[in-house]
């Protein structure tokens, strides 16, 4: 009688132990996977935060987030002209990669500008609206169009589709005027920039 009980006990105990172990292992694996995903995600987010969010597509991808995803997978960090050298330095620091000059194949660094439609010449074709990645243009078929200045990222994408060439890129001060200057020229980002680019 006893041996029978023994075997049942042994079976139950060993069985539950195995189950427990498996559950524990599964949990660990699941946690590790989760952490990995979180890490990747946070890296992606951090890269994306460094990109200027102009959404101009000059990097060759559809927007800033897709480019950030490609950088995660090992793409070059020097493909973003609107971000300019500062973005490259910051990306290099984040990705532990060497600082490289901007790849000229993707364009030149230009001062910040916003699109302004010469409204008298606008024929209301809606082509610019379709091109704008941030829906910064208001207008309708055969109606005058205009750009919401605060929303315009200066991506240039609406200039080309305009059949009557009535969109100008007008440079705008990027940010508020600098009132206080550092008494020293710092030895941080800016100097790296000067030496790197």
């Amino acid at each position: 009688m006893y041996p029978l009980i023994d075997t049942i006990y042994v079976q139950v105990i060993s069985g539950s132990l195995v189950l427990l172990l498996a559950a524990h292992l599964g949990l660990k694996i699941w946690q590790a996977l989760l952490r990995q995903r979180l890490l990747q995600r946070s890296l992606l987010e951090r890269i994306n935060r460094l990109l200027p969010q102009t959404q101009c597509g000059q990097c060759g991808y559809e927007g800033c987030l897709p480019y950030a995803r490609e950088i995660c997978r090992g793409d070059a960090i020097n493909k973003c002209p609107p971000g300019g050298p500062e973005t490259i330095v910051r990306l290099a620091a984040l990705m532990h990669r060497p600082v490289e000059p901007l790849n000229p194949a993707h364009g030149q660094v230009k001062p910040f500008a916003v699109a302004v439609i010469r409204e008298a010449e606008c024929i209301g074709c809606t082509k610019c609206i379709q091109a704008c990645p941030v829906d910064a243009i208001i207008g309708g078929p055969k109606l005058m169009h205009t750009v919401i200045e605060q929303e315009c990222t200066g991506c240039d994408l609406c200039v080309e589709p305009c059949p009557v060439d009535c969109i100008d890129m007008i440079s705008r001060a990027w940010g508020n005027p600098v009132i206080w200057l550092l008494p020293s020229s710092g030895v941080g980002v800016r100097q790296q920039l000067d030496t790197a680019v």
């Binding site: 060759g60 080309e160 589709p161 550092l182 020293s184 980002v189």
Partner: protein, 537 residues
């Protein structure tokens, strides 16, 4: 009333406490205190900036060419963080245009230009004979309409500060008469001569914010003012507390520490602890506004510095040009090398004297090479730590300095740069003559700019995401319409009669098309399309 969990009650007898850090600079108030407060003469032209306070500019309600009376409203408050502007004298509005205002560097702002007619014809005032007959909210509305902002220099709209205090409930109202800056004596001369009105203003403030206790705190080196105050306070419930003289006791958090011994923790506001601090000059302006019905059109300001023959405290109209006031004090132009608005330690250097006096101008300091020699050249930090000993905000100025130099904005935030009150105590003691405050101001500006950029790009990003979502939705909608059997359903209803797999394939195809369209557009080959488009039009 929503009370913060950090609310304190202050029932113990108050005594002067020590503040952390601080310095004891030499004091140069005697020159300006020699004479009584004088009303400044009427200038020919006044310039009234729409933004003289912290917050949003007021909204002009007069037109160019309009004749206005003294005390008339020229600009109305535009939101809670905005205070109205009144005509300091009668005359004609000559322009509403951008012109130079006092501030960091050369700053330009929208101003109302008023040409005085010299008659000083006043609009009718509505004095309130017994303010106790009014409810605290009625008084609050009157203070709001009188255009008062913190006259101690910070310029926060007084009505808004009171409103928040009423909402959260305050135990203790501190009337700040410390005035610790070495050159400023505006509050001291005000209290010396008009203590009764300051006390009356304090009583009104107390009945507005419903504080249980009110104390007027003053530094002990102002003997005449203390005497005048104790006479005026004889039959009042307001207490008088004489503090030790130390710079910067007059800072908001510092005076709280000096009066209660309690340090408002980082990240909390004084009102969270149930404390409200108002400046003595503000109390006086509140008295004027309620008891006499006069809006804030003038203030007492100290004119001092060795180039002035007769330094004095002027009661000057808001909008009076600084150069005009200097003329009235007999300025020796050959000595004059620059002007500081505010005190020598925390003030800001003015770019030119052709700016108006504004509500927050408590002092105009004419510099000369004798008194303010060119700063000695900046040397390397020797890590002596003197700066950390004097920093009243308990920061590590030498660390902040190092991070400022390396433009490490994250570390600066981590080390509490936001808590720096720019008092200048650290720069005052620094043996290496490092202009520390300028480093901090530049870094604070850089941090604000970075945050602003981040906000902008976040907005762009979310608009881009919405744009993509919209495209996707529109493509699926268009697809639904084309499918057989979908005609029956309206565009808003999801199309039913095909399988999920089918739908998924269709959507994927559509998204691919959109993507293709997008990448085509960015590629230079789309020049062809453009030519085609042009033909068509």
């Amino acid at each position: 009333m929503s009370q913060s969990p950090h609310h304190k009650s202050f029932t113990a007898r108050l005594r002067a406490h020590k503040i952390f850090g601080g310095i004891k600079p030499a004091v140069y108030k005697a020159d300006a205190l020699r004479s009584r407060v004088m009303p400044a003469p009427l200038p020919g032209n006044l310039v009234l900036p729409l933004l003289q306070h912290q917050g949003q500019p007021a909204m002009a309600v007069v037109e160019v060419g309009q004749a206005v009376l003294k005390y008339q409203v020229l600009a109305m408050g535009n939101g809670p963080l905005s205070v109205p502007v009144h005509a300091p004298t009668s005359g004609v509005i000559t322009a509403i245009a951008d012109s130079a205002v006092p501030g960091f560097g050369a700053q330009v702002q929208r101003c109302i230009h008023l040409q005085a007619d010299g008659l000083d014809t006043a609009a009718e005032l509505q004095p309130c004979l017994d303010y106790r007959a009014l409810s605290h909210l009625q008084l609050l509305a009157l203070i709001d309409a009188a255009g008062i902002c913190g006259l101690g220099g910070a310029g926060f709209p007084t009505a808004e500060k009171l409103r928040v205090s009423i909402e959260q409930g305050v135990e203790l109202l501190i009337i700040n008469a410390a005035e610790c800056e070495p050159y400023i004596s505006a509050d001291e001369s005000l209290i010396r001569e008009r203590a009764d009105r300051v006390v009356s203003g304090a009583e009104i403030l107390q009945s507005v914010c419903l504080a249980k206790r009110c104390v007027i705190a003053i530094e002990k080196d102002k003997a005449d003012a203390i005497e005048a105050l104790s006479t005026a306070l004889q039959d009042s419930s307001i207490e008088l507390l004489v503090l030790n003289s130390k710079f910067p006791t007059g800072g908001e958090r510092q005076i709280i520490q000096a009066v209660t011994g309690f340090e408002v923790p980082r990240g909390l506001l004084p009102v969270d602890a149930g404390i409200l601090v108002q400046n003595a000059g503000t109390a006086y302006a509140v008295h004027n506004a309620i008891v006499e019905g006069k809006p804030c059109i003038s203030r007492i300001t100290t004119l001092t510095g060795s180039p002035l023959q007769t330094p004095k405290n002027f009661e000057a109209l808001i909008g009076t040009p600084v150069s005009f006031l200097f003329e009235m004090c007999g300025i020796d132009k050959s000595q004059h090398t620059g002007t500081i608005m505010g005190g020598s330690l925390m003030g800001i250097e003015l770019d030119s004297d052709e700016v108006p006096l504004i509500k927050t101008t408590n002092c105009l300091l004419a510099k000369s090479t004798g008194e303010f020699p060119d700063p000695a050249p900046e040397q390397a930090c020797i890590r002596c730590g003197y700066c950390a000993d004097v920093c009243p905000a308990r920061l590590l100025p030498q660390q902040l300095y190092a991070f400022s130099r390396s433009e490490d904005l994250d570390q600066l935030e981590e080390h509490g740069l936001a808590d720096c009150i720019e008092c200048g105590a650290c720069a005052y003691v620094c043996p290496s003559h490092i202009p520390l405050v300028q480093y901090y101001r530049a870094s604070k500006q850089a941090i604000a700019e970075r945050d602003r950029q981040f906000q902008t790009s976040k907005q762009w990003q979310s608009r881009f995401q919405f744009h993509q979502y919209r495209l996707k939705k529109e493509t699926t909608k268009a697809l639904d319409k084309k499918l057989p059997g979908a005609e029956k359903t309206t565009a808003n209803e999801p199309a039913q009669p095909f399988s999920r797999d089918q739908a998924r394939d269709e959507i994927a195809a559509a998204v691919r098309r959109v993507a293709a369209r997008h990448s085509n557009r960015t590629a230079p080959s789309s020049a062809k399309d453009k030519a085609k488009d042009k033909d068509r039009h």
